[in-house]
């Protein structure tokens, strides 16, 4: 291939996931390896970018315009990449991504099942730009929307455009963004504030972190646009302190934007003034709740307040405030630039646009996925996610973080949008999707979330604090084999009250994991309580393993993996587990190639 006129660009993913796997060393080695090489006619441009989404297969190296994507690149692979791909235009087969759906190696990542169903709006720049180079952002239409807003549009027109687009808040509740802006616009009480909620805390969710790390400028642009629309001159970004890289990149981007005249006085000569400040969050999950977040910015204890008066009227320091989530802000510039109608075309009715999901759990491809709203859950798990690891039986999907619910197999075709998910007792939340197979115990899952919430509830109101704590005690009892059938009634009784009587959304949604598992997996609860058996083999007190002698081929792998030598048997003859010695670690169950290891109950000493 001729290199004249088409300068090579090499993009190395330096998101948190890839960095943890030495991607920065890959970047440095590539830089140093190519420096001063006279056998390369045109020096390639090398960039450290934000997250590409498929973190599990990182570090990711993409080479343009060749369209070659390498996965799991180690620093030792760099020399080979330079020698073969850069110098001789050869593709290194070993580093290509293997698509389990198509059952072949993929040269360009965009052809992979994981990527080809995606539609990137909020993540449009991530992985394609160096987050610290504002110029990269500008080259990809960055700040064009801001130009348009400040120089051609009135605040009313901006709000109208956002309202018409049908954009709903991506933080979880799905409140229409345009309506929020409009209500805040109507209050003649100044100063007003714009706030970005970057306190992402759901276990398994990391889309906001990726946007802040990989494309901070889009958030800045979105917030300035809102400031102009509601006549606010000051914005705050509340970023949890654990997100060190996100905070650093945001700060550098803000400083650069200020020096380039996108922030500060008289932005782009329009006379409009706006500036941003970062506030570090202390790591309380509840501070992702808007009123607790604002209390925290003010320097008070992060406790929510009753929101009978909305924060668009009395928010930060009791002044009118618009608070949106990171992903929501990232959608604003494209909406302004391409128009409300363009956005409305994407997604489904009343749920326009796309949503970023973080697909994790027992699924082959894990990572960040941006798809149009209304895409079927099964498409996300099987077409994009590649199905369940080891092709085990699929059991359920947990969406919406700790406040969400578990969706069973029979609802796999549910469209992923705000309304459909809340109709079956789950929620969109921030977009966490945790896939579970038959080795996941639903009672234990409910217990896990209650434990998380019992620590993360602010503890202000009785129903949330004591209610979650009691539910946790009940669930712990069930997983230990001390459950009684009345416990199920008590769980449901308390769940109903907590849902209605709690002060904030954390409390109101906290019973969801318990209520949905009770609704869809009640059998499993009863199995734990009555038969003292955990069907998934997770609750140790309620599990014994035995080998089905009709299935066992006597390969002996389980005996080798057993840490306490509890498995015996002759070669090519069925093996036996000594229940007395067995510590229920589950190694044999996981490793058996024939699935001959079965789960028995606490007292079912079956041989």
């Amino acid at each position: 291939m001729s290199e004249i006129g088409t300068k090579r660009r090499i993009l190395i993913c330096c998101g948190t996931g890839c960095l943890a796997n030495n991607s920065y060393e890959v970047y440095e080695r590539l830089r140093n390896g190519l420096k001063g090489r006279d056998d390369i006619s045109v020096q390639p441009e090398i960039k450290a970018t934000g997250c590409n989404g498929l973190c599990e297969k990182g570090p990711v190296v993409k080479i343009y315009p060749d369209g070659i994507s390498y996965f799991k690149v180690a620093p030792k692979d760099v020399d080979e990449i330079i020698e073969k791909t850069i110098l001789r235009n050869e593709v290194i087969n070993r580093l290509l991504y293997f698509d389990t759906n198509q059952k072949k190696k993929i040269t360009n990542h965009i052809d992979a099942s994981f990527y080809k169903h995606q539609h990137k709006i909020a993540l449009r720049n991530i992985g394609e730009v160096d987050p610290l180079e504002t110029d990269d952002y500008i080259k990809r239409d960055g700040f064009k929307a801001l130009h348009k807003v400040l120089l051609e549009m009135t605040p009313e027109e901006v709000i109208d455009e956002v309202e018409k687009s049908g954009l709903r808040g991506r933080g979880g509740a799905g409140f229409p963004t345009g309506t929020k802006w409009k209500s805040c616009y109507k209050f003649d009480n100044f100063p007003k504030y714009v706030v970005c909620n970057g306190d992402e805390g759901d276990p398994g969710a990391f889309m906001d972190r990726s946007i802040m790390e990989g494309d901070p400028n889009t958030i800045i642009e979105g917030m300035i646009i809102c400031g102009y629309a509601i006549s606010s001159h000051k914005g705050f970004l509340y970023i949890r302190d654990e997100y060190e890289l996100a905070r650093k990149n945001m700060q550098l981007a803000i400083d650069k934007a200020r020096s380039l005249g996108y922030l500060g006085k008289d932005i782009l000569g329009s006379g409009f003034e706006f500036d941003l400040e970062i506030v570090r969050g202390g790591g309380a999950f509840v501070c992702g709740e808007s009123s607790a977040l604002m209390a925290s910015i003010e320097g008070n204890v992060g406790e929510p307040r009753a929101k009978y008066i909305r924060s668009v009227e009395k928010g930060l320091w009791d002044q009118p405030t618009v608070l949106n989530n990171v992903e929501t802000w990232a959608n604003i510039p494209p909406i302004i630039l391409n128009g409300a109608n363009w956005f409305k075309e994407i997604g489904s009715e009343k749920n326009s646009g796309t949503k970023v999901f973080s697909l994790v759990g027992k699924v082959k491809n894990t990572g960040l996925v941006e798809i149009p709203m209304g895409t079927k859950l099964s498409e996300l798990v099987f077409d994009i996610g590649g199905g369940i690891i080891k092709d085990r039986p699929f059991k359920a999907v947990q969406t919406g973080g700790p406040s969400g619910g578990c969706i069973p197999k029979k609802h796999m075709d549910i469209p992923l949008d705000f309304d459909s998910l809340s109709n079956i007792g789950s929620m969109m939340g921030s977009g966490g999707v945790i896939v579970m197979d038959d080795t996941t115990c639903m009672v234990e899952i409910a217990r896990y979330y209650m434990e998380f919430l019992s620590e993360e509830s602010c503890g202000k109101c009785t129903t949330c604090r004591e209610g979650i704590n009691t539910m946790l005690k009940i669930l712990t009892n069930i997983t230990l084999g001390k459950g009684q059938l009345e416990d199920i009634d008590l769980l449901e009784q308390l769940g109903e009250t907590i849902k209605i009587a709690s002060l904030c959304a954390l409390g109101k949604t906290a019973p969801n994991p318990v209520m949905t598992t009770l609704r869809f997996f009640r059998d499993e609860y009863i199995e734990h309580i009555v038969n003292k058996r955990c069907p998934a083999g997770v609750c140790k007190n309620l599990t014994t393993y035995y080998i089905d002698k009709d299935v066992c081929i006597g390969c002996g792998i389980c005996a080798k993996k057993c840490p306490v030598n509890a498995i015996t048997g002759n070669n090519k003859e069925p093996h036996v587990i000594d229940v007395g010695k067995c510590t229920v670690c589950g190694n044999c169950f996981a490793i058996c190639p024939k699935m001959a290891v079965k789960v028995g109950g606490a007292s079912a000493y079956a041989y």
């Binding site: 204890v301 992060g302 620590e455 503890g459 202000k460 604090r465 209610g467 009691t470 009587a501 002060l503």
Partner: protein, 249 residues
């Protein structure tokens, strides 16, 4: 504005909460974390009532709900009663031996479930009134610390507080008698700190701490106030009244 509560109309003022309106009109809404003179805290959740706004029905906590033109309120219903019972049950799990909560449970017909009752001694229901009282007084010696199930009322880092004046306002407002205060041999112990008590210059009984007295005098901007206890102050006031009104009747 006129507000309909349980079928009767009451005149409400703009900016008033439902609880304030109800209190003014002697309508009983059960509550634990509300106190006259303090703003509503919305913590205990017992004051939940049903508000009907047009066609919409919602459950709100009356101590923080600002009244609005045209609303109709039901202070009790089957649903609300069920929730209040559950809230009392939850408090009973937390403080199974507390007299006040036990009586409340008795009143509402809530019975204890031993399996889930707290085995350790606990009397605090975390209503936050003590913290509010301390804050109102301007001392800010105690606060709600930690979060989730470990939340508690304490002084900073559980240390002896420099700011506490031993006035006992926290004890005064506590509905469940959870704060330990002991007055013995001229000394008061509260929040891990011991204070010297001051005697009343009239009856000679110990009545407050030196720090509390000094704080009050500083607030009043005077130092020649007599050291008189609450009881003697009332007594002397009533005799003054008697004197001044002597010739009127």
């Amino acid at each position: 504005m006129l507000i309909k509560i349980d079928g009767c109309f009451y005149e409400g003022n703009s900016g008033e909460t439902l609880m304030e309106l109800a209190k003014r009109n002697n309508i009983d809404i059960p509550h634990l974390c509300y106190k006259d003179g303090f703003e509503g805290l919305g913590r205990c959740r017992l004051c939940l009532v049903e508000v009907i706004e047009g066609k919409r029905k919602k459950i709100v906590s009356s101590c923080v709900y600002p009244i609005q033109e045209g609303i109709e309120v039901n202070t009790t219903s089957e649903k609300i009663n069920k929730m209040r019972k559950d809230i009392i049950l939850l408090l009973l799990f937390r403080t199974p031996e507390n007299e006040y909560i036990k009586n409340l449970a008795l009143e509402y017909g809530v019975s204890k479930i031993d399996r889930y009752s707290n085995k350790e001694e606990e009397n605090c229901i975390l209503c936050g009134l003590c913290v509010k009282a301390c804050e109102k007084l301007g001392t800010h010696a105690i606060s709600l610390v930690n979060r989730g199930t470990t939340k508690k009322v304490s002084t900073p880092f559980d240390d002896t507080s420099k700011d506490c004046i031993g006035c006992g306002a926290c004890v005064e407002v506590c509905p469940t008698n959870a704060i330990k205060l002991s007055d013995e041999n001229g000394k008061r112990t509260i929040w891990n700190r011991t204070f010297d008590l001051v005697k009343c210059s009239i009856c000679g009984k110990y009545y407050t701490t030196e720090e509390s007295l000094k704080y009050t005098l500083d607030m009043l901007g005077t130092d020649d106030e007599e050291h008189i206890c609450e009881y003697c102050k009332k007594k002397s006031m009533s005799s003054k009244f008697k004197e001044s009104f002597k010739n009127i009747y």
